[in-house]
């Protein structure tokens, strides 16, 4: 299978790899997927309580190159966005940006899920 240049770029130079303190109040963590399915994404965001702006994002992913690229791209996209703007990111945007083939669409779905899970974790902590 040939990978798009953008997938290769994110795979070779993944953006925002890392881990934040999952117990911190300003941090939301999303852990989606399952090892037996071959994909697990952990996406973390740090949100400014005042402005609701995502000031930082980190990820770690177990999965194929497209899964790594989807989550790497997701961290780039959510940074600087408000929570509501981040929730508007659709998996189809990721598919388009990375030129994912049909068999890799689930990777983009997982990345969208990870964003939602991280935001929902933050909301739960701060409700």
């Amino acid at each position: 299978m040939a990978y798009s240049d953008k997938v290769l770029d994110h795979y070779t130079n993944p953006r925002n790899v890392g881990t934040m303190d999952k117990n911190a109040n300003e941090v939301g963590t999303g852990l989606v997927g399952a090892p037996e399915c071959g994909d697990v994404m952990k996406l973390q965001i740090r949100i400014n309580a005042e402005t609701k702006v995502i000031e930082d994002a980190k990820f770690k992913t177990f999965g194929c190159g497209s899964a790594i690229a989807s989550s790497s791209l997701a961290t780039e996209w959510v940074k600087g966005k408000t929570v509501d703007e981040a929730l508007a990111i659709k998996n189809t945007d990721i598919v388009k940006e990375l030129s994912l083939p049909p068999v890799k669409i689930h990777c983009s779905v997982l990345a969208e899920d990870a964003i939602r899970a991280a935001i929902s974790d933050w909301k739960k902590k701060n409700s």
């Binding site: 881990t19 992913t61 997982l110």
Partner: protein, 414 residues
């Protein structure tokens, strides 16, 4: 770690998928693309005679490697066709004797799918499980044989994990029970000693391209005495190959397969020792640096050139992507058309996640120590990098028991 500068990239280390045609084989084939173009079935002129002689010489070369007589070799288009012909041919011929066939879950798809088709036509198939080491349990086989059993089909060497089944004991058991024994030996013959008499086999599927011969040619050994095995042909036509396989013979391919088998016979002892040393070098170099790597299946009962390893917490396709100047394959779902992880690795009971993390290395005749050193170093480097990226490795290091984590389900569209 070795001299990286000496290797030419990309490196081919996928010798279970196919092997490079040996230049000596190509040399032997060339005249048959040129001036010797006759049909081996043309009995009344020199063109036909020359082709027929070439085919008969190849038949001898192939028979010799497996301890058979030339008359017991039926040429086909490859091991897939041989497996189809053996199983369907026996099933149809011995239908009145019984309708039960025994095979195992880790067989090649061409055996499994053939058996499933027969199942639809009223045959009863037993798919024996394998143990954690990839071997079948002989007692289970013994218990599975009934008075309706006409055939046992168990492969000699597995194409993914290289496991060598105890075919000699299986054959002995089958002969005691009066059941025919077929083995798909496409991966085994030419790599490990194999003899149809000593190994008690009645039908053997062979491939040209797995043994440094050309693609598109194979053979089926069909025993002629003790017992004499009969088959119903599965293709209608001119009745070539003593009525068992119609179609004009692929003379060029057959010449190449013959030469390849001759070379395998001459070089088997030396080559298998060399490949085993390379395989072990690869394994030990990787294991010396990386934690949480596992060899899938028995290390002892294994083809010398096979190494199937799982790199825990790293997904196979992403690993392949990182080592893209090395040709190997993975049992990961992402590399298969079906999005299902390897059924062979699943059958070992190690869990799907280990299948997703697996890489199959197939070391072959043309690989060198320098290449092995390069591959080991590259794999180590990429696995380390991907583990830095892996949430599972991080959780493992934190002491989280991953089997106890409640994972969010996969997205609904997958």
């Amino acid at each position: 770690m070795g001299s990286d500068t000496a290797v030419k990239l990309p490196i081919y280390m996928d010798n279970h998928a196919t092997t490079r045609t040996d230049p000596r084989v190509v040399e032997a084939m060339l005249p048959y693309f040129g001036e010797i173009y006759g049909n081996a079935a043309s009995r009344n002129h020199q063109f036909g005679w020359a082709a027929e002689k070439a085919v008969e010489d190849a038949r001898e070369q192939i028979a010799k490697l497996i301890g058979a007589s030339a008359k017991e070799i039926v040429f086909t288009s490859g091991a897939t066709e041989s497996n189809n012909l053996a199983i369907k041919g026996v099933a149809e011929m011995y239908r009145e004797k019984g309708n039960h066939i025994i095979t195992e879950v880790t067989e090649h798809k061409c055996v499994l799918e053939t058996c499933k088709r027969l199942e639809k036509h009223g045959y009863r198939i037993t798919f024996l499980p394998v143990q954690k080491d990839g071997l079948i349990d002989l007692n289970q086989l013994k218990d599975a044989i009934t008075d309706q059993t006409i055939l046992v089909s168990i492969m000699a060497a597995n194409n993914e994990i290289g496991i060598l089944q105890p075919i000699r004991e299986i054959g002995k058991l089958c002969h005691e029970k009066g059941v025919l024994f077929h083995t798909d030996a496409a991966q085994a013959v030419g790599k490990v000693p194999f003899n149809v008499i000593e190994d008690n086999v009645d039908l053997v599927s062979l491939s040209g391209h797995k043994v440094y011969g050309p693609k598109g040619v194979g053979a089926l050994y069909v025993r002629r005495r003790n017992p004499r095995v009969q088959l119903v042909a599965q293709m209608d036509g001119g009745g070539q190959e003593r009525g068992m396989r119609s179609s004009t013979l692929n003379v060029t391919g057959i010449v190449g397969m013959g030469k390849a088998f001759e070379l395998a016979q001459q070089e088997l002892a030396e080559e298998s020792a060399r490949l085993l040393a390379l395989r072990e070098s690869l394994r030990t170099q990787i294991e010396a640096v990386l934690d949480e790597v596992y060899v899938n299946g028995s290390l002892e009962h294994r083809l010398p050139g096979n190494l199937n390893m799982s790199f825990a917490y790293v997904e196979g396709e992403s690993l392949l992507m990182g080592i893209n100047d090395i040709a190997v394959s993975s049992g990961s779902a992402c590399t298969s058309a079906t999005l299902e992880p390897s059924y062979v690795l699943k059958a070992l009971g190690a869990g799907d996640e280990m299948a997703h993390s697996s890489i199959r290395f197939g070391v072959g005749r043309f690989n060198t120590q320098a290449e092995v050193d390069y591959v080991a170093a590259k794999v180590v480097e990429v696995v380390k990098r991907l583990r830095e990226l892996s949430p599972l490795y991080e959780m493992h290091k934190e002491g989280v028991d991953l089997s106890k984590v409640k994972w969010a389900a996969e997205p609904a569209n997958q």
